[in-house]
């Protein structure tokens, strides 16, 4: 187990771009990267209306210590024409995060709610979001069925937004009628040190 004090670089990229981004990060001194399959939502309103908004995305997480400069990774990734998407940096030093003016809102719910959450968030001013399919973990006293622990499937929605829109988005998601039931999910937001677009 490698314990790092530093920052977390988070990139949402086009389908199958994870390996390329990871190798860029490694060349710049990062020790490794973790890739997660995800779904992104397109910005075209017509496509969304037709239900064609989702695109496959690769989410990559890179842990950086103080010896690695996140800026070089980001600028290298920006220079690579094969990489498209967004990049965000979360610093363990909260003060640095606060200055940039960007926030990341994360919502974790049982499966099936992501489309409605994204719809509400967009109405409140969000540009886009990334959805990850996940599952809950079982507590020690979890429910059993046929001798097996049963846990619900989850969807995790991540939305990067400017600071001033954070409140609106949170309250819009929170007022969704489908999320009124108790125990349906959780939501949190955190500050982001840096936010950059890759490609295009």
């Amino acid at each position: 187990m490698l314990l790092l004090e530093g920052s977390l670089l988070l990139a949402v990229l086009g389908h199958n771009q994870a390996d390329r981004f990871s190798s860029v990060a490694r060349q710049c001194g990062a020790t490794g990267a973790t890739a997660v399959p995800a779904k992104g939502t397109a910005s075209s309103k017509i496509l969304r209306l037709l239900g064609m908004g989702d695109k496959s995305r690769d989410l990559v997480l890179v842990l950086l210590d103080d010896n690695v400069n996140a800026d070089t990774i980001i600028s290298e990734a920006k220079a690579d024409p094969a990489l498209t998407g967004i990049c965000a940096l979360l610093n363990s030093d909260e003060e640095k995060n606060m200055k940039a003016g960007w926030k990341m809102v994360t919502i974790i719910t049982n499966t099936g709610y992501a489309d409605d959450i994204m719809h509400a968030a967009r109405e409140a001013g969000a540009e886009g979001g990334t959805v990850i399919h996940a599952r809950g973990t079982a507590p020690a006293d979890a429910e059993h069925f046929l001798g097996v622990v049963v846990v619900p499937d989850k969807e995790m929605v991540m939305i990067l937004c400017p600071e001033e829109k954070e409140e609106q988005i949170i309250s819009a998601v929170n007022s969704l009628s489908c999320l009124k039931e108790k125990g349906v999910g959780i939501m949190y937001s955190q500050a982001v040190e840096k936010f950059e677009n890759l490609g295009e």
Partner: protein, 474 residues
């Protein structure tokens, strides 16, 4: 749903078929008047397949997964078994391919009543879905279930002879229609991800389900006396207009789609309760997948079947056997790329393995397998080899391999058996075989071989994968 990405993927999968048929047209098999319908059909294939795949992504997959998850969370075994049985039964009973197959079998063997056979196939599949769900919930090893199941199959098939064996294995390919397979795949995924996390038992439900029809057909033949396999005439359809093909396919597909649609609607208001926007997207997705599969099937029926017969006939009559063999090797490899359910399965594999197992690798080994299967089927037609040998050695080898292969890949392999034998291979490849053999009776069994071969090649991929991983770790 990313339509442009789907379009790109489908183009990659259909273009090789078009190129090779066009090449054949200018070299070995002049197609004359068939070329126009073939090219039109290919356009239908590309547009239909991408629409279908995009639609499945936002309808069948999320609904099936959520259903599996909800079934596990309700923690009621009777509910799970009831839902599994009713969904399995209704989608099979309504599947047009099944009634076609039953009619064909009963025409070969008058002792079998075709409507009873359809009923039996549906019950067989539904019971096996229950078995597969129970296995996924309990975490019983897939290998054990498959070995037991196939031992019974072997016994029945041995008692009934090769005529029945080829029918039985063909039926397992035909029964699971392209709309039902993605749903069953997703349901299995949902159940297992809620109970033991995505992984070992994520796949295998389709594989266990495909044993059902094999069991019921061979049981049926056994009970009604041996098969009197009289060769029937090749049904030769004269040139039909695109409009009438579309209408015919639309009617058939709607019949197969209706019970699934009804089940999804009933489930939405009772168990699933998707919120507004998601439900809207699911409805759109259902429309897309329906429209897409209608376009796809029409394209196949209008442009591909006759071309297949013509190619098979010309090659076997005018050229030495090895030419036909070479062409079948190539066709086998490229046709599987354009099977609708194959793309659904491979993207699910990519998701479950978090991108570790790539679509390309799975596709490559599927191509190898199907290519081999088609070539073997041609060898069998040419040399009149007993079909039972293929079944016994093929399935036995697959079961032996499961001892050396990671369980995840065993599940994937047995699922892809049912997936690889989709509408394109049952019409286009089967037509080539019918053309080559001159009789429908000898070409029976081709679809079954296509369903068996991936069991072997994908498990070999699994063994290679495991080796690599171990080497990388040490």
């Amino acid at each position: 749903m990313d339509f442009t990405q789907k379009l790109k993927e489908t183009l990659i999968s259909v273009v090789p078929i078009v190129i090779s048929v066009v090449l054949l047209n200018f070299t070995l098999v002049p197609l004359d008047g068939l070329m126009g319908p073939f090219l039109t059909g290919s356009l239908f294939l590309v547009s239909g397949l991408s629409l279908f795949l995009g639609g499945v992504d936002i309808s069948m997959v999320p609904v099936g997964q959520k259903l599996g998850s909800v079934m596990a969370l309700r923690k009621s075994l009777p509910l799970v078994l009831f839902l599994g049985f009713s969904i399995g039964f209704s989608v099979t009973f309504a599947e047009p391919d099944v009634s076609v197959l039953s009619a064909r079998i009963s025409s070969l063997n008058p002792a079998i009543d075709s409507s009873i056979l359809t009923f039996m196939i549906a019950v067989g599949l539904a019971l096996c879905i229950d078995l597969g769900l129970f296995r996924a919930l309990k975490g019983i090893s897939l290998r054990a279930v498959l070995i037991c199941g196939y031992l019974v199959v072997f016994l029945l098939v041995y008692l009934t002879g090769q005529g029945a064996a080829s029918m039985a294995f063909d039926s397992s390919g035909a029964t699971t229609g392209p709309l039902a397979v993605p749903f069953i795949l997703a349901m299995g995924l949902g159940v297992s991800s809620s109970t033991r996390g995505a992984g070992e038992s994520s796949f295998g439900l389709t594989g266990v389900a495909s044993m059902g029809p094999v069991l019921s057909v061979s049981l049926m033949v056994l009970l009604t006396g041996g098969s009197s396999s009289a060769p029937s005439a090749v049904a030769s359809e004269s040139a039909v207009s695109l409009g009438s093909v579309l209408l015919h396919v639309l009617k058939n597909t709607a019949k197969g789609f209706a019970p699934l649609l009804l089940a999804i609607l009933v489930l939405q208001f009772t168990l699933l309760k998707f919120p507004k926007i998601r439900f809207k997207n699911i409805c759109l997705g259902l429309i897309y997948s329906f429209a897409g599969i209608v376009l796809f099937l029409s394209g196949v029926e209008y442009g591909f079947s006759e071309v297949g017969v013509k190619i098979g006939q010309t090659l076997s009559e005018n050229y030495p056997f090895y030419v036909l063999l070479a062409v079948s090797l190539i066709f086998g490899a490229i046709v599987v790329l354009a099977e609708p359910a194959v793309w659904v399965l491979t993207s699910q594999i990519e998701n479950v393995s978090a991108g570790r197992i790539r679509k390309k690798q799975v596709m490559l080994f599927l191509c190898l397998g199907v290519s081999l299967a088609v070539a073997l089927a041609m060898l069998r037609i040419h040399f009149h080899i007993n079909y039972l040998y293929f079944v016994f050695f093929g399935v036995a080898l697959a079961l032996v391999l499961s001892f050396f292969c990671p369980p995840l890949f065993t599940g994937i392999a047995f699922d892809s058996g049912g997936v690889a034998s989709g509408p394109l291979s049952t019409s286009f490849l089967l037509s080539v075989a019918i053309g080559a053999s001159g009789s429908a009776e000898m070409s029976f069994g081709l679809v079954g071989l296509i369903a068996i071969s991936p069991l072997i090649t994908l498990q070999i991929l699994g063994i290679i994968f495991d080796r690599r991983k171990k080497n990388a770790a040490s």
